[in-house]
Subunit: 159 residues, 2 copies
Amino acid sequence: MTRDDIRPGEVVADVQPKQDAHVRFIGKIHTPFFTRGECPRQGTQDGPECILELDEEWVPALKGVEAYDQLEVLYWLDQAARDFLLQTPKGKGKPYGTFALRSPNRPNPIGTSIVRLERISGRKVHVRGLDCIDGTPLLDIKPYRGESLPKIPHLDFGT
Amino acid sequence: MTRDDIRPGEVVADVQPKQDAHVRFIGKIHTPFFTRGECPRQGTQDGPECILELDEEWVPALKGVEAYDQLEVLYWLDQAARDFLLQTPKGKGKPYGTFALRSPNRPNPIGTSIVRLERISGRKVHVRGLDCIDGTPLLDIKPYRGESLPKIPHLDFGT
């Protein structure tokens, strides 16, 4: 074992790579966190403004998003290891199961955050509440659960 | 256009398939909803008991999960169309942007739910709060945000 990313007590799975489905990146996230060490453990909605920059082809799918206060953002943690079964969080002495942690290291390294929407400008969605590294690939934007349709019922969405 | 899944006013993207990364299914979800029509629009934590059935190789990664009340579950909506830009929710007259809806039809059809943990038995995690169809592939289990480490600090996780 020549890996240097495994701490004492940590266990990785002996699993073959398996590609059951694919994701496509739909844009990129800009944050003021440039290394993993700079990322807060969890984003807060009074944190710094970040930008979800959508690829041009997906911009029409933003129609109506401006009516929400909070959004759920999904992103791909592309620097993560995907085989950890047990891992020891920084500063903790004992290993936990991967599913007992929100660590980026997991079989499918998908991060989720609830963010506050500041404004939308073209293909840029300005939000607060993210904790991921600058340049993280964007997977999805959803209304925060419980707000499934815009709260302004007669908002004119045009045709 | 021979597709029969597009309603008036709906728009699909003219995008090439793009495989930026892959997901691996880590198990399967059992629910009492056997068709899309039977699925509730959004699960509630007093809904029916559902089971997250993990593949054997990932069971060790459950260590510590029993200490949580609520979990976040991610799953792959494998019956979804992935090219919708605008779509008209059932019973609504006007199309909304895909990112203004929690519809399963989205570029990366990843569902997220917050569930209540009932119990864990071997590779089966019993929960309430899901709204997906029976047999949906499981992608991830995370502690609900805000509960990042088990609330029982001196819980013995063994070695």
